[in-house]
Symmetry: C2
Subunit: 142 residues, 2 copies
DNA sequence: TATTGTTATACTCTATAACTATA
DNA sequence: TATAGTTATAGAGTATAACAATA
């Protein structure tokens, strides 16, 4: 009858709850770390993206899974604070590349360092356990 | 020298990345499931809370980690759609209890069922593996 | 014509501060 | 006076649609 088992056994429900807790805690810590740098979550995520490489507005929207019109405003606010800048693409003058400034990259790096959430608790696990956790998560996401 | 090891080895970084991916995917699926029921994420989370038991506005704010003034608006919108209602507490007439209506509880239940994210991928893991994942997550959150 | 980015608009969520009713 | 909830206000994020510049 059940071609797709629903796994509503207590063990599965417990794991689902644990994952929900991980998600909630991760988000809290991310928002708090961003706020400590006077950034909203959206601004921090966009800045983290730009700190790797300059990107066209359109592509940023795709990676952030939002509409391009939203990116305009977020980049505006980062630009007003000197954390990002707009460049024109010489090969296609329709395109505007958003790029992190030096200060933007420094801010992004400090923010990354502040995200102790996943790192600190992991320190309590042995290498074998971390390997095991990695493999289980990979299979979950496959 | 290093009293708190920073664990920036490749394995730990890989696990951190996997957790970030889990978090991102969980949020996407939650927002999409909520949107399918014409609810925002905040409305869905509040409704899920009320579907268990009626709660004072103040307490809702604490659980949602936001200001009480925000709860007013979200409950307003749920109430306008017949998914929630306000009741007065006879023992203290300052208190207003927000409660899910029958339709609200049904919507919350359908939404819960739609959250296949954590359940479906877990179905591919054996019981021993799910036990292992549970224990590792518990130690991470300890 | 199609594409890129922006602007205009409207709605939701958010925090802060002032306000009302009750304790 | 203290507390619960609301209202007022302002800023940020979001989507949709219309628009300018460029291809």
């Amino acid at each position: 009858m059940s071609s797709t088992p629903q796994r509503t056994d207590p063990l599965t429900l417990e794991v689902v709850d644990l994952i929900a807790t991980v998600v909630a805690r991760y988000h809290e810590e991310y928002e708090e770390a961003a706020a400590r740098h006077q950034l909203t979550g959206a601004q921090a995520r966009l800045l983290a993206l730009l700190s790797r490489e300059p990107l066209p507005m359109r592509q940023i929207a795709q990676q952030l899974k939002c509409e391009p019109s939203n990116v305009t405003g977020i980049v505006d606010r980062l630009e007003a604070r000197g954390l990002a800048e707009r460049r024109t693409d010489p090969s296609d003058r329709r395109i505007k590349l958003a790029a992190a400034t030096e200060e933007g990259r420094e801010t992004a790096a400090r923010l990354r360092g502040a995200l102790s959430f996943a790192r600190a608790p992991l320190a309590g696990l042995s290498e074998a356990e971390r390997t095991s956790l990695r493999d289980l998560l990979k299979r979950m996401l496959a």
